[in-house]
Protein backbone atom coordinates (compact mmCIF):
# COMPACT_ATOMS: atom_id res chain seq x y z
CA UNK A 1 0.00 0.00 0.00
CA UNK A 2 1.41 3.38 -0.99
CA UNK A 3 -0.25 6.62 0.02
CA UNK A 4 0.60 10.29 -0.44
CA UNK A 5 -0.35 12.80 2.23
CA UNK A 6 -2.79 14.45 -0.20
CA UNK A 7 -4.71 11.16 -0.63
CA UNK A 8 -6.40 11.54 2.76
CA UNK A 9 -7.83 14.17 5.07
CA UNK A 10 -5.83 14.62 8.28
CA UNK A 11 -8.34 13.61 10.93
CA UNK A 12 -7.29 10.95 13.39
CA UNK A 13 -9.93 11.24 16.08
CA UNK A 14 -8.31 8.62 18.30
CA UNK A 15 -5.86 11.37 19.23
CA UNK A 16 -8.63 12.68 21.49
CA UNK A 17 -8.36 9.43 23.46
CA UNK A 18 -4.57 9.72 23.71
CA UNK A 19 -4.80 13.28 25.01
CA UNK A 20 -7.46 12.24 27.52
CA UNK A 21 -5.10 9.53 28.80
CA UNK A 22 -2.34 12.13 29.01
CA UNK A 23 -4.51 14.40 31.17
CA UNK A 24 -5.37 11.47 33.42
CA UNK A 25 -1.72 10.48 33.74
CA UNK A 26 -0.73 13.99 34.82
CA UNK A 27 -3.72 14.28 37.19
CA UNK A 28 -3.00 10.95 38.91
CA UNK A 29 0.76 11.43 39.21
CA UNK A 30 1.12 15.18 39.73
CA UNK A 31 -2.32 16.49 40.75
CA UNK A 32 -5.08 18.69 39.33
CA UNK A 33 -3.01 21.88 39.32
CA UNK A 34 -0.37 20.15 37.18
CA UNK A 35 -3.01 19.45 34.51
CA UNK A 36 -3.88 23.15 34.42
CA UNK A 37 -0.18 24.10 34.36
CA UNK A 38 0.47 21.71 31.49
CA UNK A 39 -2.46 23.05 29.47
CA UNK A 40 -1.35 26.61 30.12
CA UNK A 41 2.17 25.76 28.91
CA UNK A 42 0.69 24.14 25.80
CA UNK A 43 -1.60 27.10 25.09
CA UNK A 44 1.06 29.78 25.54
CA UNK A 45 3.48 27.85 23.37
CA UNK A 46 1.33 26.40 20.57
CA UNK A 47 -1.11 29.29 20.34
CA UNK A 48 1.54 32.04 20.31
CA UNK A 49 0.55 33.06 16.72
CA UNK A 50 -3.16 33.09 17.67
CA UNK A 51 -2.40 35.18 20.76
CA UNK A 52 -0.53 37.68 18.58
CA UNK A 53 -3.48 37.77 16.16
CA UNK A 54 -5.90 38.31 19.04
CA UNK A 55 -3.87 41.33 20.18
CA UNK A 56 -3.60 42.70 16.65
CA UNK A 57 -7.00 41.90 15.13
CA UNK A 58 -9.22 41.37 18.15
CA UNK A 59 -11.89 38.72 18.63
CA UNK A 60 -12.37 38.10 14.93
CA UNK A 61 -9.10 36.11 15.04
CA UNK A 62 -10.64 33.76 17.59
CA UNK A 63 -13.86 33.54 15.59
CA UNK A 64 -11.94 32.33 12.52
CA UNK A 65 -9.92 29.90 14.60
CA UNK A 66 -12.96 28.30 16.27
CA UNK A 67 -14.94 28.12 13.01
CA UNK A 68 -12.04 26.29 11.44
CA UNK A 69 -11.40 23.69 14.16
CA UNK A 70 -15.09 22.84 14.64
CA UNK A 71 -15.51 22.51 10.87
CA UNK A 72 -12.51 20.15 10.74
CA UNK A 73 -14.01 18.06 13.51
CA UNK A 74 -17.40 18.10 11.77
CA UNK A 75 -19.16 19.44 14.86
CA UNK A 76 -21.72 22.24 15.04
CA UNK A 77 -20.85 25.48 16.82
CA UNK A 78 -22.69 28.78 17.17
CA UNK A 79 -20.49 31.85 17.34
CA UNK A 80 -21.64 35.41 17.92
CA UNK A 81 -18.86 37.90 17.65
CA UNK A 82 -18.72 41.65 18.18
CA UNK A 83 -15.80 43.98 18.82
CA UNK A 84 -16.11 43.44 22.58
CA UNK A 85 -17.48 39.96 22.99
CA UNK A 86 -17.34 36.53 21.40
CA UNK A 87 -19.89 33.98 22.55
CA UNK A 88 -19.37 30.36 21.55
CA UNK A 89 -22.02 27.69 22.11
CA UNK A 90 -21.70 23.96 21.41
CA UNK A 91 -24.18 21.11 21.80
CA UNK A 92 -21.39 18.65 22.51
CA UNK A 93 -17.62 18.38 22.39
CA UNK A 94 -16.46 16.17 19.50
CA UNK A 95 -13.51 15.19 21.69
CA UNK A 96 -15.70 14.03 24.59
CA UNK A 97 -18.07 12.26 22.19
CA UNK A 98 -15.24 10.32 20.54
CA UNK A 99 -13.59 9.38 23.85
CA UNK A 100 -16.90 7.95 25.07
CA UNK A 101 -17.56 6.14 21.79
CA UNK A 102 -14.21 4.42 22.14
CA UNK A 103 -15.10 3.24 25.64
CA UNK A 104 -12.66 5.39 27.64
CA UNK A 105 -13.66 7.20 30.83
CA UNK A 106 -13.50 10.95 30.23
CA UNK A 107 -11.02 12.66 32.54
CA UNK A 108 -12.77 14.77 35.20
CA UNK A 109 -10.42 17.53 34.08
CA UNK A 110 -11.17 17.26 30.37
CA UNK A 111 -13.07 20.55 30.64
CA UNK A 112 -9.71 22.20 31.35
CA UNK A 113 -8.95 21.80 27.63
CA UNK A 114 -11.55 24.56 27.30
CA UNK A 115 -11.14 26.79 30.35
CA UNK A 116 -7.42 26.47 31.07
CA UNK A 117 -6.43 26.74 27.40
CA UNK A 118 -8.77 29.62 26.59
CA UNK A 119 -7.89 31.57 29.74
CA UNK A 120 -4.20 31.18 28.86
CA UNK A 121 -4.84 32.47 25.33
CA UNK A 122 -6.35 35.63 26.83
CA UNK A 123 -3.40 36.36 29.14
CA UNK A 124 -1.63 39.62 28.24
CA UNK A 125 -4.37 40.58 25.79
CA UNK A 126 -7.21 43.09 26.22
CA UNK A 127 -9.61 40.14 26.61
CA UNK A 128 -10.75 37.76 29.34
CA UNK A 129 -12.43 34.38 29.25
CA UNK A 130 -15.39 32.86 31.07
CA UNK A 131 -16.70 29.30 30.82
CA UNK A 132 -20.32 30.23 31.43
CA UNK A 133 -21.65 26.66 31.23
CA UNK A 134 -20.04 23.26 30.86
CA UNK A 135 -21.71 19.87 30.85
CA UNK A 136 -19.02 17.31 31.75
CA UNK A 137 -20.97 14.38 30.37
CA UNK A 138 -21.03 15.50 26.75
CA UNK A 139 -18.86 18.61 26.82
CA UNK A 140 -21.71 20.95 25.85
CA UNK A 141 -20.59 24.47 26.64
CA UNK A 142 -21.24 28.18 26.56
CA UNK A 143 -18.04 30.19 26.46
CA UNK A 144 -17.43 33.93 26.52
CA UNK A 145 -14.42 35.95 25.51
CA UNK A 146 -14.92 39.59 26.42
CA UNK A 147 -13.02 42.85 26.54
CA UNK A 148 -11.64 43.58 30.00
CA UNK A 149 -12.88 46.73 31.72
CA UNK A 150 -10.34 49.56 31.31
Amino acid sequence: MTRKAADNKYLHKDFHCALNLGLEYVRKHFGDDAVRDYLRQYARSFHAPLIRALRRRGLVALKEYFRNIYAEEGAPVRINCSRDELRLETDYSPAVRHIRQKGFAVSPLHGATEFAVHAAICEDTPFAFELARYDRKIGRSVQRFYRRAP
Binding site: A5, H12, D14, A18, Y25, V26, Q41, Y42, F46, T113
Partner: protein, 159 residues
Protein backbone atom coordinates in the same frame (compact mmCIF):
# COMPACT_ATOMS: atom_id res chain seq x y z
CA UNK B 1 -11.27 22.02 22.90
CA UNK B 2 -7.94 20.80 21.69
CA UNK B 3 -8.75 19.63 18.16
CA UNK B 4 -7.36 16.28 17.05
CA UNK B 5 -5.47 18.22 14.37
CA UNK B 6 -3.65 20.06 17.20
CA UNK B 7 -2.90 16.95 19.23
CA UNK B 8 0.70 16.54 18.07
CA UNK B 9 1.62 19.91 19.57
CA UNK B 10 -0.14 19.00 22.84
CA UNK B 11 1.65 15.63 22.84
CA UNK B 12 5.10 17.15 22.32
CA UNK B 13 4.43 19.77 25.03
CA UNK B 14 3.25 17.00 27.38
CA UNK B 15 6.58 15.18 27.00
CA UNK B 16 8.43 18.43 27.81
CA UNK B 17 6.17 19.05 30.80
CA UNK B 18 6.67 15.51 32.16
CA UNK B 19 10.43 15.69 31.71
CA UNK B 20 10.52 18.95 33.66
CA UNK B 21 8.44 17.33 36.42
CA UNK B 22 10.15 13.97 36.72
CA UNK B 23 12.98 13.66 34.24
CA UNK B 24 13.20 11.21 31.34
CA UNK B 25 11.82 8.47 33.59
CA UNK B 26 8.50 10.31 33.88
CA UNK B 27 8.27 10.49 30.09
CA UNK B 28 9.13 6.80 29.69
CA UNK B 29 6.62 5.83 32.39
CA UNK B 30 3.94 7.78 30.55
CA UNK B 31 4.74 6.09 27.23
CA UNK B 32 4.44 2.67 28.91
CA UNK B 33 1.11 3.70 30.46
CA UNK B 34 -0.15 4.98 27.12
CA UNK B 35 0.93 1.83 25.30
CA UNK B 36 -0.87 -0.38 27.81
CA UNK B 37 -4.14 1.56 27.67
CA UNK B 38 -4.27 3.16 24.24
CA UNK B 39 -3.09 0.22 22.11
CA UNK B 40 -4.77 -2.58 24.04
CA UNK B 41 -8.04 -2.47 22.12
CA UNK B 42 -6.45 -1.65 18.78
CA UNK B 43 -2.98 -2.95 17.81
CA UNK B 44 -2.78 -5.62 20.52
CA UNK B 45 -6.24 -6.97 19.78
CA UNK B 46 -5.66 -6.99 16.02
CA UNK B 47 -2.30 -8.79 16.24
CA UNK B 48 -3.71 -11.36 18.66
CA UNK B 49 -6.60 -12.01 16.26
CA UNK B 50 -4.86 -11.81 12.89
CA UNK B 51 -1.18 -12.32 13.57
CA UNK B 52 1.18 -10.10 11.57
CA UNK B 53 -1.73 -9.08 9.33
CA UNK B 54 -3.03 -7.25 12.44
CA UNK B 55 -0.11 -4.80 12.00
CA UNK B 56 -1.29 -4.10 8.47
CA UNK B 57 -4.88 -3.57 9.64
CA UNK B 58 -3.83 -1.26 12.48
CA UNK B 59 -1.45 0.94 10.49
CA UNK B 60 -3.67 1.01 7.38
CA UNK B 61 -6.33 2.78 9.46
CA UNK B 62 -4.02 4.96 11.56
CA UNK B 63 -1.73 6.15 8.77
CA UNK B 64 -4.58 6.87 6.36
CA UNK B 65 -6.42 8.88 9.03
CA UNK B 66 -3.18 10.74 9.74
CA UNK B 67 -2.77 11.48 6.02
CA UNK B 68 0.74 10.08 6.09
CA UNK B 69 3.00 9.75 3.06
CA UNK B 70 4.06 6.11 3.31
CA UNK B 71 4.52 2.69 1.76
CA UNK B 72 3.48 -0.43 3.66
CA UNK B 73 4.34 -4.01 2.71
CA UNK B 74 3.10 -7.26 4.19
CA UNK B 75 4.49 -10.72 3.52
CA UNK B 76 2.08 -12.83 5.51
CA UNK B 77 3.81 -16.09 4.70
CA UNK B 78 7.28 -14.89 5.68
CA UNK B 79 5.88 -13.00 8.68
CA UNK B 80 7.30 -9.63 7.71
CA UNK B 81 5.58 -6.24 7.81
CA UNK B 82 7.35 -3.04 6.75
CA UNK B 83 6.51 0.65 6.87
CA UNK B 84 8.56 3.09 4.91
CA UNK B 85 7.49 6.49 6.19
CA UNK B 86 8.37 9.00 3.48
CA UNK B 87 6.97 11.91 5.48
CA UNK B 88 5.61 11.43 8.99
CA UNK B 89 2.58 13.67 9.54
CA UNK B 90 3.34 14.07 13.24
CA UNK B 91 7.02 14.95 13.02
CA UNK B 92 6.26 16.88 9.83
CA UNK B 93 3.82 19.08 11.70
CA UNK B 94 6.28 19.69 14.50
CA UNK B 95 8.91 20.74 11.97
CA UNK B 96 6.35 22.90 10.14
CA UNK B 97 5.25 24.82 13.26
CA UNK B 98 8.38 26.93 13.41
CA UNK B 99 7.28 28.72 16.59
CA UNK B 100 7.33 25.38 18.48
CA UNK B 101 10.41 23.52 19.64
CA UNK B 102 9.61 19.80 19.44
CA UNK B 103 10.46 17.54 22.37
CA UNK B 104 14.00 16.32 21.65
CA UNK B 105 13.15 12.61 21.86
CA UNK B 106 9.75 12.96 20.23
CA UNK B 107 10.08 10.08 17.72
CA UNK B 108 11.16 7.63 20.41
CA UNK B 109 7.58 7.37 21.68
CA UNK B 110 6.65 5.22 18.65
CA UNK B 111 9.46 2.81 19.41
CA UNK B 112 8.42 2.44 23.06
CA UNK B 113 4.66 2.22 22.45
CA UNK B 114 4.75 -0.37 19.68
CA UNK B 115 7.68 -2.46 20.89
CA UNK B 116 5.93 -2.90 24.24
CA UNK B 117 2.90 -4.38 22.50
CA UNK B 118 4.61 -6.47 19.83
CA UNK B 119 7.59 -8.10 21.56
CA UNK B 120 5.57 -9.94 24.22
CA UNK B 121 3.36 -11.27 21.39
CA UNK B 122 6.38 -12.84 19.71
CA UNK B 123 7.41 -10.20 17.18
CA UNK B 124 10.65 -8.38 16.61
CA UNK B 125 10.33 -4.61 16.13
CA UNK B 126 13.17 -2.77 14.41
CA UNK B 127 13.15 0.87 13.38
CA UNK B 128 15.49 3.28 11.67
CA UNK B 129 15.16 6.76 13.12
CA UNK B 130 18.28 8.17 11.45
CA UNK B 131 16.31 10.62 9.23
CA UNK B 132 13.68 11.93 11.63
CA UNK B 133 15.04 15.45 11.06
CA UNK B 134 13.40 15.07 7.63
CA UNK B 135 10.29 13.41 9.14
CA UNK B 136 11.36 10.07 7.64
CA UNK B 137 11.70 6.69 9.30
CA UNK B 138 11.19 3.02 8.62
CA UNK B 139 9.94 0.08 10.63
CA UNK B 140 10.29 -3.67 10.10
CA UNK B 141 8.25 -6.08 12.18
CA UNK B 142 9.01 -9.79 11.94
CA UNK B 143 7.33 -12.77 13.46
CA UNK B 144 9.77 -14.65 15.69
CA UNK B 145 10.11 -18.37 15.29
CA UNK B 146 12.45 -21.18 14.37
CA UNK B 147 14.75 -20.25 11.53
CA UNK B 148 13.80 -16.56 11.58
CA UNK B 149 16.54 -13.98 11.73
CA UNK B 150 16.24 -11.50 14.59
CA UNK B 151 16.66 -7.93 13.39
CA UNK B 152 18.88 -5.44 15.15
CA UNK B 153 17.26 -3.19 17.72
CA UNK B 154 16.31 0.33 16.70
CA UNK B 155 18.92 2.85 15.81
CA UNK B 156 18.97 5.57 18.45
CA UNK B 157 20.61 8.20 16.24
CA UNK B 158 19.05 11.55 15.53
CA UNK B 159 15.77 11.02 17.28
Amino acid sequence: MIACTEFIAAYSELFKFLEKKGGKKAVADFWNYLSDLYLKASLKKLVKLHGIRGCWLYWAKALNEEAADFTMELDDKAGIFKINMHYCPSKGRLLHWRHLKPYAGYCLHCDVLYRRILEPLGYCYAADFSQTDKARCSVVITRNGPGRVRLKRSSAKNR
